[in-house]
Symmetry: C3
Subunit: 217 residues, 3 copies
């Protein structure tokens, strides 16, 4: 019994804010869908769709849990894996036209904000200091999509012209800042998720970008 | 105190089925060979061949061990690393014509079934519930090859038209199902590995594929 | 006792050689710079530059810490993350001509030797046997650059014609060998880092390579 993690639910996890499960589910479902679609567009089987949905849905949270020393959330609790498989099945049996790139980008924006807040909240619960906790939020929100793109052989989400990591960082950092300032955690979470979603929405709609590095100096 | 590792050899590891070391070695050797060959074909040195052999050979098992909270199997026990280095040396000094793509695909099919069963068996031993345990089998079998392809800049094994993840999933799921039904573990292992190997063999030979997603609906 | 997650600073970490922080900082700063530059060349924002700097700077050490069962060094201690963000800022505000590919290759060579030695030293401190400890040095030195290349969609550093992994392996293996032979650790570290840097320097200057696999036999 090499890793005796706490018997069923760790005290730290029990302290997670009440909003946490909903934010977690939003991120999980949306990223699982984007993973399943990446496989579907490449003509894969339902099994590969499911595997892609799982990796994309749980990838960011897995890296976060390993980094903060938490139990990997989906290994002992089959519900997360079941959600990913269900999402893959839904993608498989529904018409492709339901899932346009544009619709996906909007879903993804919701998941991005929700997951960034959830990741930062979980890291704070595990005693991670504010700055690394905000980084954990960014990792939770971005790593699933990064893995999906790398596996699908696409240019990584990190390299897209629009604000992506930046939106996740806004959500994660503003949640941590608001909590440190004493804001009620649910309020902080809603504000922070909305900020990240809003920035991403503006970026999608106007193809807005922060000043990019030009090296002109 | 999230992870306390047991002193030298964990009771869980001691409970691994008797067949486990052989299945582990089969997967390790075959994947190490495929990693070494990927580097060899790109004109690398013996050192890079060895590094590739190691990453590909132990990659899947490493991710599995991190996820289930086990000690990473090859870090404290030098035999796995030594096996990978030996395999790299054999690839280096033998004629290239011994190692055709076709021969490799067949070796890989053996490793795939063996590693999927071993991964699922180890996860069950560590108290992982059936569904995530089957996923651990798939991860053990597929992640080494995924890492190899990503590092070599090739389209990931996940994206190939033939059944690959699906064959690993068949082995892992049927092992878990047979054990849950009370089958003797050695028997379950041989049947499950044979099923996955068989499906992969059919896929290689007939270029068979499960119905792929077409999005025609 | 590979991983006792001690409350604040583990006894193992406290036993790290006195030179360790400097070698760690050299590797961290140089790899963070190379990551920030990879993002800068692709016209990214300061936030993405920072994220890239962080992943590249701490990536190798993160994988090493997970493998040897240590606490991930930068999660509880904000200084490493702060260094990466600072490096990203410096890259952002300085003229691009300061950062030629050639200058970078030389910085990278310094980081490579330093990080290989640091990784091997930390692994030895955690009771990892000599051969896997040397592998940990190679992983610490190479994985950050590998992740950077994969995320940037470039051919992995592993596949470049010049000696790269080989130089890291020389540093890591010679450090372990010298320590096993009873050399004072600071002396062993300086010699080993110089050997790896020297080999890499020769490789850069003369485009030297070890005999590559040709498969002519």
């Amino acid at each position: 019994m090499p890793a005796t993690f706490a018997p069923s639910l760790s005290p730290a996890a029990a302290l997670l804010p009440a909003f946490a499960p909903w934010f977690d589910l939003a991120g999980l479902g949306v990223f699982a869908a984007s993973g399943a679609l990446a496989a579907a567009k490449r003509g894969q089987t339902i099994v590969t769709l499911s595997f892609f949905a799982l990796i994309t849905g749980v990838g960011g949270g897995t890296v976060r849990d390993l980094l903060i020393g938490a139990r990997v959330f989906w290994v002992q609790d089959a519900r997360a894996a079941a959600t990913c498989l269900l999402v893959a099945l839904v993608i498989w049996i529904t018409p492709q036209r339901w899932w346009s790139d544009r619709a996906l980008a909007w879903f993804d924006a919701i998941g991005l904000g929700a997951y960034a807040v959830y990741g930062a909240a979980k890291a704070l619960t595990y005693g991670v200091p504010p700055v690394p906790a905000a980084v954990m939020g960014v990792i939770t929100a971005c790593v699933g999509g990064i893995i999906r793109d790398v596996l699908a052989g696409e240019p990584s989400i990190l390299m897209r012209p629009e604000l992506y990591v930046t939106a996740a960082a806004l959500s994660a950092a503003s949640y941590v800042a608001l909590v440190e300032l004493g804001t009620v955690r649910l309020v902080a979470a809603v504000i922070a998720a909305a900020l990240g979603f809003g920035l991403r929405a503006i970026a999608i709609h106007y193809r807005l970008a922060l000043p990019a590095y030009r090296g002109l100096r």
